[in-house]
C-alpha cells in the first residue's frame, strides 16, 4: 500500500488489517494499512469499497459494518479504542461484515383492520392475523392467496406448524389464536394460486380457554401446539385430525362431503400448564420438551412438557408482551413488555437473573421481538412507538430503524432470512427486504 509507512501526517495513524468471513469478491488484501484514527464507520466503509473497486472495476459500493474484538464500531476509531482500552500500537484487526439494514421497502399489503400477528417462518409465504377475525396468507408483498375465515373475534396470534417429514411439502398447517377464546387449525396447499384469495375454513377448532387466547406456537415437530390465554392458562393441543377428542362423525362427514364442505372437528387440550397468575401473553416452543411462556404477572417461565412443571421461573418486574428464544446456542431469552426496554437473559448463567443485554431505543411498549433464525446476534423488535428496529448484540445502538408504519406496530418477524415483516394499527403489512444478515 502506498500510504503505508507515511510518517509526516498530522492526525494519529493506526495500523489496521482488514479481515472478513465474506466470500471472495468481497475480500480485500490482508496487508496492513495505516489509517487516520478519526475515521468512522462511514469512512471505513468507503475505504473498503475503494479497495474492492481497485480489484474489481465494476464493483458497486455497498455499506459495511466493522467489528473490533467482537464489537461493532459505532464511533470514530480513536474514540472506540479509547473507550475499549485497546492499544493503538499494535496492528488492529478489523473484521468487516455487510451492514445489516433493509435496502428495499416493498409495497405494503393492506388489510381491512389492524394487523395483530404475523409469522414468516416459512420462506414461501407469510401468515398474518387481523382484527377483522381473518387470517391471511401472503405469497409476496400485496399478493394474498388464502383467507382463513372462521374466528368470530380478532386474531391475536398465528403460527405456522412445521410440516412433518412424511407429509408432502406443499400442504401446510397453520394455527391461529383469537379473542373468541378458541384456536383454529388450518390446512392449505402452498402450490395453489388463485386470482382471488381463496377462503378456507379451519379443519379443527380448539376450545377450552375461558378468555381471549393471546398467543399460539407450534412444537418444532409439528405434532402439538401450545397456547397462552387471558385465563392465565397455557394449554397444549394435538394438531392431528384424528385425535380422540374429535368425534368420529365429523371425520366421516368430511370424507363424504369431499373437499367442498370441510368439516370441523373440535379438539380439547391435551394438558394444561397452571402457574401464571395473569394473562399469558406469549408462548414459545423452541425445543420439543420445553415451552417458554411470558406473562403479565411479571414472570417468564420454562415448562417441562412431560411433567407440566415449570423448571425456570424468572421474575422480571414488568408485564411481558412478547418473548423469543434464540441467539447463542438458541438459549437466550429476549423479551419486551410494558416499558420501552428489550431485555435479554441468559438462563444458563447461574445465580443471577439480571438481563445480560438491555436495548432501550424504543419509546413505548415493545409489542414484538424476534431472533434471527440463523444469526446469533440479530434481533428484530417492534414497538407501539411505530418503529421496527434491528439489533445486533454486539452494539447497544439499533442497526436500523424501519419507520414505515404510521401508528403502533403490533407484530414483526423475520422472513426468508433477509426480510423483516411487520404489521400494525395502520392495517398494513410492511416488508423490508434485502437485509444481508
Amino acid at each position: 500500500m502506498d500510504i503505508n509507512g507515511d510518517v509526516e501526517e498530522f492526525s494519529r495513524r493506526i495500523q489496521v488489517r482488514f479481515i472478513t468471513k465474506l466470500k471472495s469478491p468481497l475480500k480485500v488484501p490482508s496487508s496492513s494499512i495505516a489509517l487516520p484514527s478519526n475515521l468512522t464507520r462511514m469512512g471505513l466503509s468507503a475505504l473498503i469499497n475503494n479497495l474492492l473497486q481497485a480489484g474489481n472495476a465494476d464493483w458497486k459500493p455497498e455499506p459495511f459494518d466493522f467489528l473490533i474484538n467482537g464489537e461493532l464500531v459505532r464511533m470514530s476509531l480513536e474514540e472506540f479504542l479509547l473507550a475499549k482500552g485497546i492499544s493503538a500500537e499494535k496492528i488492529l484487526e478489523i473484521e468487516y461484515i455487510k451492514a445489516v439494514a433493509p435496502r428495499r421497502e416493498e409495497e405494503s399489503s393492506l388489510h381491512d383492520d389492524w394487523v395483530s400477528a404475523a409469522d414468516g417462518s416459512n420462506p414461501e409465504f407469510i401468515v398474518t392475523g387481523c382484527y377483522d377475525g381473518l387470517g391471511r396468507i401472503w405469497k409476496a408483498a400485496g399478493l394474498c392467496s388464502h383467507v382463513l375465515e372462521g374466528h368470530s373475534a380478532a386474531v391475536t396470534s398465528v403460527s405456522i406448524i412445521k410440516p412433518k417429514g412424511v407429509e408432502s411439502s406443499t400442504a401446510v398447517s397453520i394455527a391461529t389464536a383469537s379473542k373468541d377464546r378458541t384456536l383454529r387449525l388450518w390446512k392449505f396447499d402452498v402450490e395453489e394460486s388463485f386470482d382471488h384469495p381463496k377462503k378456507i375454513r379451519a379443519y379443527k377448532i380448539l376450545t377450552g380457554h375461558n378468555a381471549s387466547v393471546q398467543s399460539v406456537t407450534a412444537q418444532p415437530s409439528g405434532d402439538m401446539v401450545c397456547s397462552g390465554s387471558w385465563d392465565c392458562r397455557i394449554k397444549l393441543w394435538q394438531t392431528n385430525e384424528l385425535d380422540k377428542g374429535g368425534d368420529s362423525v365429523s371425520i366421516k362427514k368430511r370424507k363424504m362431503d369431499n373437499e367442498d364442505e370441510e368439516s370441523q372437528s373440535q379438539g380439547e387440550a391435551v394438558s394444561t400448564l397452571v402457574g401464571h397468575t395473569q394473562c399469558v401473553s406469549s408462548v414459545v416452543w423452541p425445543e420439543s420438551e420445553s415451552v417458554y411462556s411470558a406473562s403479565w404477572d411479571h414472570s417468564i417461565r420454562r415448562w417441562d412438557v412431560e411433567t407440566g412443571k415449570d423448571s425456570l421461573n424468572m421474575f422480571c418486574g414488568k408485564a411481558i408482551n412478547c418473548l423469543d428464544i434464540g441467539g447463542e446456542g438458541s438459549s437466550l431469552i429476549a423479551a419486551g413488555g410494558s416499558d420501552s426496554i428489550i431485555r435479554i437473559w441468559d438462563p444458563r448463567k447461574p445465580g443471577t437473573l439480571a438481563p445480560i443485554f438491555q436495548f432501550s431505543s424504543h419509546t413505548s411498549w415493545i409489542s414484538a421481538c424476534k431472533w434471527h433464525k440463523k444469526s446469533w446476534f440479530h434481533l428484530a423488535s417492534a414497538s407501539y412507538d411505530g418503529k421496527v428496529m434491528l439489533w445486533d448484540l454486539r452494539t447497544a445502538w439499533p442497526l436500523a430503524v424501519i419507520d414505515s408504519h404510521k401508528d403502533k406496530v403490533l407484530c414483526a418477524d423475520w422472513w426468508r432470512g433477509d426480510s423483516v415483516i411487520s404489521g400494525g394499527v395502520d392495517s398494513k403489512l410492511c416488508i423490508s427486504s434485502a437485509i444481508s444478515v
Partner: protein
C-alpha cells in the same frame, strides 16, 4: 525646668509684642472687639512652633503658672466665659491694655484647649472660641445689604470691613504665596489663613486618614489587665447564673434542625413499582371522558363520556372494541366486579343501564342474558312503594336493562359480589340513595336518614357496611343491623369522591378544595392525614386492589400517586408517601382529569381526561 520655663516666657513675650503691634494697627482702624484674636494666634502658634506646642502639652501645669503670671492684673480664670465677663467689665479707655489681656486670656485657653485635644481629643463645644458675631445660625444674606454683619455680645453692631476690590485681591494673591491658604469667613467677616498644620489635617481627612499624623489607628492591643503573675481575676465574683441559663429570648427559640422534623419516609425507589410513564392512549371519544372502569381481569376498560357514548377498550393495544350510543352524557360506568359477569352498569341522565358487554363464554353469556331479562311488569298491581321510585325495563336497543330513576343519577357502585348495586341521586332527598338487586330486579331506598346532600356511595370490600359521603361528612352504615355505625368528620368544604381501602378500615376522601383526607377508621373519626396537594378540585380518588397504592386526580390536569401502606399490625399507623405526579392531560373547559382507576392487577393507572383521552400510566 526653670530654664525651660524661662524659654517659654520669653517666647510668649515676643509673641505678645508682636500681637500688640498688630493689634494697635487694628485698633486704630476698628473697634477692638471686632478683631478676632484667639484663632489667629493659635494659628500662629501652630504654624511657627509646632514643637513647642507638643512640648507644652506635657507642661500644662507650668503653663497655668504662666497664666497666673500674665494675668495677675485681672486675676481671673482662663475660661472663655470668664474672659467675656472680663470683657464686659473692661472700659473703653484702656482698650490697649484690655486688648493685651484680652489677647492673652484668649490665647491661653486656646492653647490649653489645643493641648487637651492633643491628649484626649475633646469634642466639647465649650472648648471652642465663641465667635464674635452673635447673630446665630441665620442666613447671612439677611445682612447682605446691612452695614453690619451682626452684633457682638454686648449688642453692638459689628461693622462690615471694607472689601478689597478684585484688583487688590488679585494683586494680594499674586504677591502673597500663602494666599491659597486664606479662606473668607463670611460669618465673622474676616479672612482666615489656614496654618500648615490645618491644611495637613484637612488633606489627611480628605484622604480618609486619622487627622493626626502620629495617631496609629491600628496600634497593637495592650492588655493592661492581664499579666503573667496575676494570681486573682480582676473580679472575684462568681459566674452569674445568666451565663449558663438561656436568656428570655433564647429559651423561646426552638433550636431544632428543620430537616429532622421531616417525617422519615422511605425512598421512592424502594416503593416501586408504581405508575410513572404514559405509554398508551385511548382515543376515540368526542367529549370529556367522565368515568372509567376496569374489568376484573384487567383485559378491558370501559369509559363513559359526555358525548353520550360508552366505549370498551382493549387495555393492551388501545383498540376500541365496542361503542354504545346512549345519547345522553354518561356520568358513571362500573364493571360488575365478578369476573364471570361482564356487565356494565352505566348512569346517564335519569337512567341507569345494565349492559351486556358480550364477553365471557357461552355459559356466562346465557346467564347474563337471563339476568338481564326483565319481564314486563304490570304496573298497577305492584303495590310496593319502590315501584314509584324506579322502574325496571328491558332495553332492546342496547341489549340490557334500563332502570328509570326520578332524578339525575350521578353514580353507580357495585357490591363486591356483583348482585347488588347502589345509585346516587344527589337531589333525590330521602330517596337519594337506592340499592338495587340485579337477580331479583328490585330496588329499595336505604333505611337511613341522610344528613346533607349525598355525593357518592361505596360498599365495604368485605363486610356488609355501606359508606355514604355527603358534602361534609362520610357516614358508615351497617346494612345488617340497619344502623349508622360511624360518622367521619372530614372538615372539608365539599367532598367530591370517596374510596375504600381493600382492607376496609381506611377511607380516602377527595374534596373540591384540593384536599385529600385519609381516615383510619380504627383510629378516629377525624382524618389521620390531610394531604393538600392539588391546587384545584379533586375529581376522584382510587385505591389499588393489591398494590399499596392510591391516587387522586384533579382538575389541574394531574394525577398524584401515593404509596399508602396499611399494616396488619394495629399499632402501626398507615404509611403514606407521595410518589409521582402524572401529567399529560390538557385542560378543557376548565376541567382536567375527570377520573382515575388503577389496573386491577398491574401497578398501572388509567386517567380519564376532559380532553377526551384516556391515558394509561405504567411502571
Amino acid at each position: 525646668m526653670k530654664g525651660r520655663l524661662k524659654e517659654r516666657e520669653s517666647k510668649l513675650k515676643t509673641k505678645e509684642e508682636k500681637i500688640v503691634t498688630e493689634r494697635e494697627v487694628d485698633v486704630e482702624e476698628e473697634d477692638a472687639h471686632e478683631i478676632p484674636s484667639g484663632s489667629d494666634y493659635s494659628d500662629e502658634d501652630f504654624d511657627e512652633d509646632n514643637g513647642t506646642l507638643t512640648e507644652s502639652g506635657s507642661e500644662q501645669s507650668e503653663f497655668s503658672e504662666d497664666e497666673e503670671i500674665d494675668n495677675t492684673s485681672d486675676g481671673d480664670g482662663s475660661t472663655d466665659g470668664d474672659y467675656s465677663l472680663q470683657d464686659h467689665s473692661g472700659t473703653v479707655d484702656d482698650i490697649s491694655q484690655q486688648d493685651q489681656n484680652d489677647d492673652h486670656s484668649h490665647q491661653e485657653p486656646k492653647e490649653s484647649d489645643e493641648d487637651h485635644r492633643g491628649v484626649e481629643e475633646s469634642d466639647s463645644s465649650e472648648d471652642e472660641v465663641a465667635p464674635l458675631n452673635t447673630v446665630g445660625d441665620v442666613p447671612l444674606e439677611w445682612y447682605r445689604d446691612e452695614e453690619h454683619i451682626g452684633y457682638d455680645i454686648s449688642g453692638k453692631k459689628i461693622k462690615k470691613k471694607e472689601r478689597q476690590d478684585k484688583l487688590d485681591s488679585f494683586l494680594a494673591s499674586a504677591d502673597d504665596s500663602k494666599n491659597w491658604r486664606k479662606i473668607y469667613d463670611e460669618y465673622n467677616d474676616e479672612e482666615v489663613e489656614l496654618t500648615k498644620h490645618e491644611t495637613k489635617l484637612i488633606s489627611r481627612l480628605l484622604k480618609g486618614k486619622a487627622p493626626h499624623a502620629n495617631f496609629d489607628p491600628h496600634a497593637p492591643y495592650v492588655d493592661w489587665f492581664a499579666w503573667e503573675d496575676s494570681k486573682h481575676p480582676l473580679s472575684n465574683a462568681p459566674e452569674p447564673k445568666r451565663r449558663f441559663i438561656p436568656s428570655k429570648w433564647e429559651s423561646k427559640k426552638i433550636n431544632i434542625d428543620p430537616e429532622s422534623l421531616k417525617p422519615k419516609l422511605p425512598s421512592r425507589k424502594d416503593l416501586k413499582p408504581y405508575p410513572t410513564t404514559c405509554y398508551l392512549e385511548y382515543r376515540g371519544h368526542k367529549g370529556a371522558v367522565l368515568s372509567i372502569s376496569t374489568e376484573a381481569s384487567g383485559e378491558w376498560i370501559a369509559s363513559g363520556s359526555s358525548d353520550g357514548t360508552i366505549r370498551v377498550w382493549e387495555v393492551e393495544t388501545g383498540r376500541c372494541l365496542r361503542v354504545w350510543e346512549l345519547g345522553e352524557a354518561v356520568q358513571h360506568v362500573a364493571w360488575n366486579p365478578s369476573s364471570d359477569l361482564p356487565i356494565l352498569a352505566v348512569s346517564a341522565g335519569q337512567d341507569v343501564f345494565l349492559l351486556n358487554t358480550g364477553f365471557g363464554n357461552e355459559e356466562e353469556q346465557k346467564r347474563i342474558k337471563e339476568l338481564l331479562h326483565v319481564e314486563a311488569r304490570t304496573g298497577p298491581d305492584d303495590s310496593n312503594n319502590t315501584a314509584s321510585i324506579v322502574s325496571w325495563a328491558q332495553d332492546d336497543k342496547h341489549e340490557g336493562v334500563r332502570i328509570k330513576h326520578f332524578k339525575t343519577v350521578s353514580s353507580v357502585e357495585w357490591h363486591r359480589k356483583g348482585d347488588y348495586f347502589s345509585t346516587v341521586m344527589p337531589s333525590g332527598e330521602s330517596r337519594a340513595i337506592l340499592i338495587h338487586q340485579l337477580s331479583k330486579k328490585i330496588s329499595q331506598r336505604i333505611p337511613f336518614k341522610l344528613h346533607g346532600l349525598p355525593v357518592s356511595s361505596a360498599f365495604h370490600p368485605t363486610r356488609s357496611v355501606f359508606f355514604v359521603s355527603t358534602k361534609k361528612n362520610v357516614r358508615v352504615y351497617d346494612l345488617v343491623k340497619q344502623k349508622s355505625v360511624k360518622k367521619l368528620e372530614t372538615g372539608l368544604r365539599e367532598v367530591s369522591s370517596i374510596a375504600i381501602h381493600p382492607g376496609g378500615d381506611n377511607v380516602i376522601v377527595g374534596s373540591r378544595e384540593g384536599k385529600l383526607c385519609w381516615f383510619d377508621m380504627d383510629l378516629s373519626s377525624q382524618p389521620y392525614r390531610i394531604l393538600k396537594c392539588h391546587p384545584k378540585d379533586i375529581t376522584n380518588v382510587a385505591f389499588h386492589r393489591s398494590y399499596p397504592l392510591f391516587a387522586s386526580c384533579s382538575d389541574d390536569c394531574t394525577a398524584y400517586v401515593f404509596h399508602g401502606m396499611v399494616y396488619s399490625d394495629l399499632n402501626q399507623n398507615p404509611l403514606i408517601v407521595p410518589l409521582e405526579i402524572l401529567r399529560g392531560h390538557t385542560s378543557s373547559n376548565g376541567r382536567g382529569v375527570m377520573d382515575c382507576k388503577f389496573h386491577p392487577r398491574q401497578p398501572w393507572l388509567f386517567t380519564a381526561g376532559a380532553d377526551s383521552v384516556i391515558r394509561l400510566f405504567c411502571h
